[in-house]
Amino acid sequence: MFSFAPTIVLFPLLGFLFLGLFGARLRNEKLIGILGSGTVGLSFLVAVALFIHMLGLEPDQRKGIVELFSWIGTFTGTASSVNVSVAYQVDQLSILMTLVVTGVGFLIHVYSIGYMHGDPGFWRFFTYLNLFIFAMLNLVLADNFLLMFLGWEGVGLCSYLLIGFWYDRKFDVGGYAPGKAWTNDAAKKAFIVNRIGDFGFLLAMFLIVVQFESLSFDAVFGRVSVMTPGSDVMIWITLLLFLGATGKSAQIPLFVWLPDAMAGPTPVSALIHAATMVTAGVYMVARCSILFALAPATLQVVAVIGALTAIMAATIGLVQNDIKKVLAYSTVSQLGYMFLAMGVAAFTAGIFHVVTHAFFKALLFLGSGAVIHGMHDEQDIQKMGGLKKYLPVTYKTFLIGAIAIAGIPPFAGFFSKDEILWKAFSSDQGSVLLWAIAAAGAGVTAFYMFRLVILTFEGKERFDHHHAHPHEAPKTMTVPLIVLAFLSVVGGFIGVPESLMGGNALEHWLEPIFAPAMTTLRATPHHGGITEYLLMALSVGIAVAGIYGARTVYMKRQELADAWRSKYRRTYQVLWNKYYVDEAYDTLFVRSTVKASETVLWRGLDVSVIDWLVNASAQGVAWLSSKVRLIQTGFAQRYATIFVGGIVLVLFWLMFK
């Protein structure tokens, strides 16, 4: 059964190749849409079949590796030389991610048929989407670091292509003056910032090769037992891997690309920049949990970065007015929670949040897409309001998504977020401070989400009725919304903790994956009894308070918002300008590098020094020969004089030496 695994990857590849080669000639949106979605749907079906098959197996049998062919290697037959295969590994973790990627991916493909209707690049869009799914599945199913890296950079490429999909449109990108940037600036920024992370990933792989003489997960993880916990090399490997993760999953310091990635069509934001690709970093850390377990210092870094990103991005989300930017910062923030989970060794909780987040954030993005679609490309929530009358399905599903992310039980987000908060408090790697930051972030999350809901759907209609005629989206768009809303409601039940009489099916399912890491960390499950219930109640209370706060400020007493804005002008400015991180990077790294390369290296060193020396030496030879040739005058008398003079000199030298 496991031997079918490569077909999961194959279908989207075929879809990509077919659409890429013939898509332009098809000129039939329906056919292109069916082909594009169908390949992903097929992958999903194979994944489901495989999953059911695995359910029937003993836990230690739930793993299969299919090796296809030798990819990169020296081919010299030397055992210590690099040799990497294209091989896929299906286990509890990768099948779970595959189900999410293909399942949510399929829904978003279907949604795109409606959303992209009439776009001249319709076929191109589906080509890229299929390529994305192909790359993402390589990332998830790879049995070694290098193939994972192929997927890793592949999804980055698709992200690049899709952010800049409408490459002739303007888009405000951080670090550029307002009105001066294009969507393709955002695309390029995403690719390059990701490459900085990839630099870390590459170096980590080199270290792994040197240390373990292999890049396959099985071999590396099997050989780690010889490593001393906390050794320098383990800390370096994990820190560098985490640098890669901060790029792909938009954490401090490399988060700046994700908010700008909203330049892409909204289904892209939902699929790539919310549900799947950006969680790749979390997945990678989970996959390498044993390595991180051997580097407790790195775990601390991961937890702190995660917590800080969570609160920082959430506060920025408080003041943004672009519906997609709010969601983007929300994604950055939620990814922070996932890394916090990884850092406190709550690997299952982190993956749990990846899954539930995929449901509710995809839902929220697709909902925002329906709004934008219905409002004729308007994205400013200050120019919306009262839309629930016009877009009832979108409103209801969006509300469900908002409740889920805010963490109200029994919606999906509650269980996963609460699990993270509890572990941040109780695990050996956790602390009260980490919990407090995360809990505060949860309150802010509830607040900004309901600010978004209220400003968009409730209250007075602030849009111009002459320009905008809000209307509900077509069926291809609303059906995926309903399915995702359903999943956002019930998705949490896969991981109901034992303290709430749940079986925590997810934890049991993933246990074999994380067991080595947990053993290494000597982690013991903490069942805090009364403390756990108290904290749970507290986090629900915080969420409710956040929602209530948003309702008060934006529905009941709207003057408050303006009053606060003028009272805390400085703070507001800092948040509105996203802590000036883009500006700082731009000045420190981008402009200075370009300027120095141009003036110092090129015009300075290359042209004025090196090439000058080259030309000067040539001119020197020319000058010298122009002087020396004067000796050759053609007058025999002068030659004879010099000749005689020479003889005299030689004679003198011979006589008096």
Partner: protein, 519 residues
Amino acid sequence: MLTEYILTITIFLPLLGGLALLLVDKGSVTTIKMVGFGATALTFVVSLYLYFAFDTTAAGFQFQHKVVWIENLAISYSVGIDGMSLLLILLTTFLTPLALLGTWNSITHRIKEYMVMMLLLEVGMIGVFAALDLFLFYVFWEAMLIPMYFIIGIWGGQERVYAAIKFFLFTLFGSLLMLVAILALAYSASTIPGGQFTTDLYVLYGVGPRLALNVQSWMFLAFALSFAIKVPLFPLHTWLPDAHVQAPTAGSVILAGVLLKMGTYGLIRFCLPLFPDAAFVFTPTMSSLAVIGIIYGALVAMVQTDMKKLVAYSSVSHLGFVVLGTFAMTEEGIQGAIIQMVNHGLSTGALFLIVGMVYDRAHTRAIADFGGVAKIMPVFATFFMIVTLSSIGLPGLNGFVGEFMILVGSFKSAFLGSSAYSIIATSGVILAAVYMLWMYQRVMLGPMRPDRLYGGHALTDLTRREIATLVPLVVFIVWIGVYPGTFLKTSAGMAKQVVQTMESARQGGQARFVELKNR
């Protein structure tokens, strides 16, 4: 019978084409083009025989053909190939017809002379990669210089004469020193008991390593200088941007695609095995220059305003990787260096063709003159994108395979002794994305020019001929990226041998050192 002559046939087949051209009237342009293209295409087909008949399991050189040339000096016409030379010969015979096809209508005057020059150039290039006699190598090396000089000087751009002379003098300066070193090495063969003056590479492989370190060092420097200019290694690279910008498109394709590899080929073929002890001494220098070149080339490429110049500087960066892999002297490093030579030939060759296709239409190469071209030329945009991605080393395409192997190889190399080279070089992958994507963005993306005119001309998408030129390149770009085994297997034996030679030389050197100390 055939195995003995097949290599000689491959080398001189283009020359036959050149001779045939002499019979063609210079007015019949199409016939001239067809004969020229036909000769290079036939050469490619013949060279494919080499690939299929090549035995990857056998050690040493194959298809050897040796004829005594100057008996007293033991100089002979001796050719033969191993995995590395085979791949580079195939690259040459593959790129030459494509370069001609891709620039079918670009050259309008003195077309017959142009075609003859291209054919002579190919003879020289194949010869360089096949020569097993240093004197013969030198003859081919210089012979190839002349047609290239004319191609730049006659069919080049505005500053063609300056660029051609600069190219010529730079290269000649290096190669004359190499000639001195060749003669010195050949002479030193006679100082060994029972030896005689010879330029036979086989014999010299045994002679070079036995020379004293200071003698080795001088000879290494003379060879390496010649090769470093060709590569070009920082700071000897300033001929390259001028030569590339001024050369006609086909010239640039061949220059970047094949000629630069002669430098790195020479380093692996001659500098390492002939003078191993000196190579160890100069490894830090050469690797440092390579790493500087990687970063420096990328940063300078980033701020270029002319597309061709940008690609030219990117070559300085890419070839830096090859030199780094060479001096890593690990299996990964050498294998990576060899495959990266092929990769660079394909990607940069394709990039020059692409720039040439734009130039043929707009008659400008200034990046600022473009924008939004993807809307007008979608097919072209796709090819350009794939080649750009190949150049920035995206996994799944060819560039990544070479870069990764070189970086791993240099990271773990005991010869380099420090991972710092590899770490700094790795940061080059970030810069590569910056300069290539920035160029792509400014040329292809964004809004179209208001009048849709570029350089005063309307653009049209690629013709079938142009597509036919780019498709084979893209096929191999993907092939090497997905299944590099086809090519890595070919050079595996050779790479292993180089590494073994260097490792035993190092141990031998250490043993000698210990012996001296104990005395």
